[in-house]
């Protein structure tokens, strides 16, 4: 297939990620409030993951650090989760996404985050996990279908010959 010269990691300069950086700083502070010095250390670790890779890996690292830091589910966990949700939304702003993209990220964060919150309080973890993964898959499939309808008809094609006359 075609070799695409595109950097896999969408690393952008830090000055363009100021909104994300602000949210990450707040996240470090939140970790400090929850876990003290250890929390700050884990928060800095999450910030490092965010800096060298991308938001999804930072979210994963933050969730794992939170589980390590807090032995039981408590309201502080929800507070950190909300910050993570804001981090996800801020990424779409950094992309320069349209209002619809930002709305999409807000909606998805609220919907799936809320579902996770309900699952955490009700205790049916496997059902919640299945609902979240299934929901993501379903919405992704719908978006794929819509994209297939919209994309593809637009490219204009033309053919040129520098010398259309006969060679003879």
């Amino acid at each position: 297939m075609i070799a695409v010269r595109e950097s896999i990691r969408n690393r952008r300069p830090l000055r363009r990620r100021w909104l994300e950086a602000t949210v990450v700083a707040a996240l470090v502070a939140a970790f400090g409030l929850v876990g003290g010095a250890v929390g700050v250390g884990l928060g800095i670790l999450v910030a490092g993951v965010w800096y060298v890779s991308d938001v999804p890996y930072a979210v994963a690292a933050a969730t794992i650090c939170l589980v390590v830091l807090v032995p039981e589910f408590e309201p502080a966990v929800v507070g950190v989760a909300v910050l993570l949700g804001i981090l996800v939304v801020s990424t779409t702003v950094t992309w320069g996404g349209s209002a619809r993209v930002i709305a999409m990220s807000v909606f998805a964060s609220l919907a799936f985050g809320g579902l996770a919150s309900v699952g955490a309080t009700r205790g049916r973890v496997w059902l919640t996990a299945a609902a979240i993964l299934g929901g993501i898959g379903l919405v992704g499939y719908v978006l794929h279908g819509v994209a297939c309808l919209e994309v593809g008809d637009g490219i204009e094609q033309s053919s040129e010959t520098e010398d259309a006359s006969a060679t003879r």
Partner: protein, 492 residues
Amino acid sequence: MRPTPTLWATALLATVLAACAIVFARPELLFGTALIGAWILARQYRFSELCTATTSSLTVSYSTEDARVRAGDRASAALTVRAAEPVPLAVSAEGRVPPGVRRDGPLVASLERGDRRTERAIEATWPVAGRHRFGPVTVELTDGWFRETIAVASSLSVTVEPRGPPAVHVGTGGTRATTTRGGRPSRWVGSGPEFDSVREYSPGDSVGLIDWNATARLSRTYVRDLERNSNRPTLLVVDLRTSCRTAGIGSTPQEYLREAALSVSTDARRFGDPIGLVTLDDDGVGTRIDPAASARVHRRVRRRLLELGTTDPPPVRRSSNYDPFGRSAAGYGLPTVARSRIPADYSPSDDPATEPTGAFVESLRSFSRVHADRATAADSREGELNGVLRTLGDVRLAVLCTDDSSPRSLWKSVTTLRARDRRVLVLLAPTVLFEGDGLADLEGTYDRYVAFEELRRDLDRCGGVRALEVAPDDRLSTVLATGRDRSRGDRR
């Protein structure tokens, strides 16, 4: 829309978090799954938007140096990707070069994010004759997480013309005529009032066209070409009978005649004349394309001409003593020894009791039968041609491309074409110059060429008929040199 491995890794991360949440009974981990999922969906939606915007501003184009090349020639091909505004996604376009084309690399053009234009050119060699169509361009768009592939149809094709014979002579008695480069015989050129260009005088040009000022200034004779503004429907009548397809020297008369016919076709296109094509094979009229001035018809005629000789391998022409068609002109065709042995009153319908016998006479009888069959076939062919001409309407110039293997048939064809006061251009290939061992006996070959030349002149003397010889340049020069040597010897 397909995910890249990076996206699969991210999705796997979300799934692992969900699995860990179930295994370790820690529902907090589901926040990670949910937010990574939300991020993926936002990314997907964003990619979809960018794809729509990018594709609507994108133009993909193929271009070639030349739409018509000779087999084995090189002609570059390029793929250009242009965008109305800087692209927000990485774009890569891969052109599908026709199979059989040798190239120096893949035809892939890549547009980086923020670029507006890119072009990739390759050097391509076109070894196979025919029409080659470029395949659809595969355009891939990606943001590193998703990729979208779109096929864009192509309308570009390159016509590869077969290699022609090495050097084609078109002229009279060894002198080149102006038709070889697509011009017309000078006696029919220059009726228009508009001045076109000045060129060097070539034999056959009218004295009235000489540009005396240019001649005096440049110390060479120059003539003025006047722009033709004719609308002369032209019909090419191409002989595809076995004799024209018989190879003795590697190339057949048909290949040489095809080059001359292509030249006439190019000429007609240049002047905007309607052109048509009729092919005559052993069974009668084959292809028939009615004259029209449209580019489509011109292309069709040209394509059909290019197809000639690219199907069946030609039969091999035997030695100069073999004459399958029984030439009828006195002293023309049959070897000298054979002619001297034919009884003057010989007729194949004589009483068997009085018929001469023997192996040679048996051979003659078989020739005679062939001749009779050929004569019948020729009659039916001319009848068919006549019928076609009647339905074609206004044809003012008929160009007959044939050889001299059957003078009787040739005369009939010319007579048929000459009807309704049409002008006739006969492009005539001397078969003697296409025989494999024809140059072994140069004296004999020259004699037969002289006979051919007499036939050509006879045709040329007819009102409204112009007859030109079409022959291999080198062989003709050799034969003519023999004639010159003989003339010098006679003078001494």
